[in-house]
């Protein structure tokens, strides 16, 4: 099955945007691992902005990047949100509240603790009542989110995929190895956009291929630091403007096989 990527958003240490990430992955610019910039969020009223957790800020930032590049109207675009661990900062605060007398869980932290809180903030910020799902497949949450988005697009619904994980708090760091924040968004559709885009021929199947790793050690270290950063081999293939095959492991036994073909603007669908 074939789909097209019409827009990209990225926010990670040393990668400030989708276009910046592509320049770095193409080798046009060096990769310099600085702290990730502060996420930029548009569309929330002041009270929602105050309550909006870090995970949702990352997700909204990259989602809005990808949507702007695709030129899509948010209210009509279905969304897929995927995260390996959700918001562990909030989990930590809620668990601490449960061991203090008197027990007083914050209502805002409670509603922010649901895995789909990010989707809720997206809907409110973008005025979107379009279908949305929120999922997790732990370390393989990028491959899983992409599979869901590719299925949705192939069945006719253009959709925005947003995958994110942020740093765990100190209490949970020993049991959850996410060592860099990373968020990525892809605008996925079935019909070829008029502008330059990337075609992906995709198939899910039993694992028979090696996982693609990155040549540059600093980028490879970033790739393994966060489930969302498993997107980097796909982004590198998109950046290099030549056809390439990318294998994303999907749990121990499966894989998502992607034949990636960057396309110029304007040409007719082949």
């Amino acid at each position: 099955m074939s789909c097209f990527i019409a827009g990209l958003g990225v926010l990670a240490p040393g990668l400030n945007s989708g276009s910046h990430a592509l320049r770095v992955l193409r080798g046009d610019e060096p990769y310099v691992r600085l702290d990730a910039r502060i996420p930029m969020v548009a569309g929330l009223a002041a009270n929602e902005m105050r309550r909006c957790p870090t995970t949702a800020r990352y997700a909204l930032d990259v989602g809005q990047q990808a949507l702007a590049e695709a030129g899509w109207e948010a209210p009509r675009v279905a969304t897929v949100f995927s995260s390996g661990s959700g918001d562990l900062e909030i989990l930590d605060k809620n668990c601490r509240a449960l061991i203090q007398e008197p027990i007083a869980v914050s209502p805002i932290l409670f509603h922010n603790s649901v895995h789909n809180a990010v989707a809720g903030y997206w809907g409110i910020a973008m005025g979107s009542r379009a279908p949305s799902t929120s999922l997790s497949v732990y370390e393989d949450s990028f491959a899983a989110g992409l599979l869901e988005a590719l299925m949705m697009a192939s069945l006719g619904s253009p959709c925005l995929l947003v995958v994110y994980d942020t740093l765990p708090p100190a209490a949970l760091a020993p049991v959850r190895k996410v060592t860099a924040p990373f968020a990525v968004a892809l605008a996925v559709c079935q019909e070829r956009p008029a502008k330059a885009c990337t075609r992906i021929d995709w198939a899910w199947g039993p694992r028979d291929s090696e996982e693609l790793v990155l040549d540059r050690p600093a980028l490879e270290a970033l790739r393994t630091s966060n489930p969302a950063a498993r997107s980097l081999p796909l982004l590198q293939a998109m950046a290099r403007r030549q056809a390439a095959r990318v294998v994303l492991p999907y749990l121990a036994e499966g894989q998502l096989l992607l034949d990636v073909c960057p396309l110029p603007a304007g040409a007719a669908t082949d």
């Binding site: 809620n94 449960l98 809720g120 009542r129 279908p131």
Partner: protein
């Protein structure tokens, strides 16, 4: 022209109503509630729908790190009504890699982490020990990971976590896996278990009933929480045709884009989900014999759902909520509703709104207070969650 209907070829449910379909039906038919008084470690007293015997469930040694209440509850359901056995037969027929697993949950095994924060190790060090089985118990994907390992399935697996619509949306992802040709069948489920986070969280929002939930009732004051595990096999045409079951005819989902916890006051998102599910099923509102309400028993949720049903034109359609019987099982609510509607179809019975004695006169839907015999061939299920996450399913009896 929408995608073809898919068969829900086998299903099971473990909840406060009982273990398996026979006990579930017997309790539903009697009109009894499964709710009982409960006190948390911290002293919060409330009524909950608790499943007895979960602590005693055995799981294989190889999965011992997965042994939290949420996964034990899942194992209990998988061993009920011959579910695991049917999956084994299916593996022989279509292959383990052609069977997916999609489970909905809101809090997974979070109770294990709550307990770890109370442990002296955390008190002394301020961190969880490296040996803590976070991935296998608390992580949101844990229950799908456990389910696929328990059943020996190697197809794609997902956890869907959209709060109280999780296991209804799980059916949507499962249907896409089949329509895309990736899977021949998918084990779809919903599993959520009692934990302090949800009890104290709903209390903090003023949404936890001080007595016992009365969905659509005049004196309703909030939800009662329950735990449950429900599983179903969604199958491509030609797979498991001989088994009992029903058809998944249409799915509709929407977002409220309104507020993180409060529903849209006119039920706009709810109406959109219901309309979309009917459109996908090529059905009109008048075709519905029954609507299984989300019906949580909070003042605003029930009022918004009522308005959405009226806007849909279903003021004559029998509706009821079973949350007074099971409690609100959160991420498992969709899986509960599918099993209960399956029983309504196979047994010819519309369940009553258990624990609601006087309906709220301001609500105009045709609320069924007392369960009664009736033919149900086409039904709609509603689930609505935090973050304005709505999902409705249209189910049909097998022709």
């Amino acid at each position: 022209m929408g995608p073809p209907r898919l068969k829900i070829a086998h299903y099971t449910l473990v909840s406060a109503l009982g273990r398996g379909l026979n006990e579930t039906f017997a309790t539903l038919y009697s009109g009894r509630s499964g709710l009982q008084a409960y006190t948390t470690v911290g002293g919060l007293v409330c009524d909950v729908g608790r499943v007895s015997g979960v602590e005693d469930v055995g799981i294989p040694q190889s999965l011992s790190r997965y042994g939290c209440r949420n996964n034990l509850l899942a194992a209990l359901a998988l061993e009920t009504d011959g579910f695991a056995g049917t999956v084994s037969e299916l593996v022989q027929k279509v292959g383990a890699h052609r069977i997916g697993v999609v489970v909905g949950t809101s809090t997974s095994g979070i109770a294990v982490t709550e307990a770890a924060y109370r442990d002296p190790f955390f008190g002394n060090s301020g961190v969880l020990p490296v040996s803590f089985p976070y991935r296998e118990t608390h992580n949101v994907f844990s229950c799908a990971d456990f389910t696929r390992r328990y059943l020996g399935l190697t197809g794609p697996a997902f956890v869907i976590s959209t709060a109280c619509s999780s296991s209804a949306k799980a059916f949507a992802t499962a249907a896409r896996l089949i329509h895309s040709g990736i899977c021949r069948a998918v084990v779809v489920g919903g599993v959520d278990s009692l934990c302090d986070t949800t009890l104290y969280g709903f209390q903090s929002l003023g949404l936890l009933s001080r007595t016992r939930t009365q969905p659509f009732g005049a004196g309703r004051d909030g939800i009662s929480i329950g735990e449950a595990a429900g599983f179903a096999i969604l199958a491509a045409p030609g797979v498991l045709e001989e088994a009992y079951g029903m058809m998944l005819a249409g799915i509709g989902d929407s977002a409220d884009a309104y507020h993180m916890t409060a529903p849209h006051p006119q039920g706009l998102g709810a109406w959109e989900a219901m309309s979309a599910a009917l459109a996908a099923a090529h059905r009109a509102p008048r075709d519905l014999d029954y609507i299984h309400l989300h019906g949580t028993g909070t003042i605003h949720n029930d009022a918004a759902e009522d308005l959405a049903i009226l806007k849909l034109g279903c003021q004559e359609t029998p509706v009821s909520s079973t949350k007074g019987a099971t409690g609100h099982t959160l991420g498992a609510a969709g899986a509960c509703a599918v099993a209960i509607v399956g029983l309504a179809m196979s047994e010819g019975f519309i369940p009553g709104t258990v624990n609601t004695e006087v309906r709220d006169p301001a609500l105009q839907s045709a609320l069924v207070l007392e369960g009664h015999r009736a033919t149900v061939r086409c039904a709609l299920i509603n689930t609505f969650g935090f973050g304005g996450s709505n999902c409705s399913l249209v189910l049909e009896a097998c022709p």
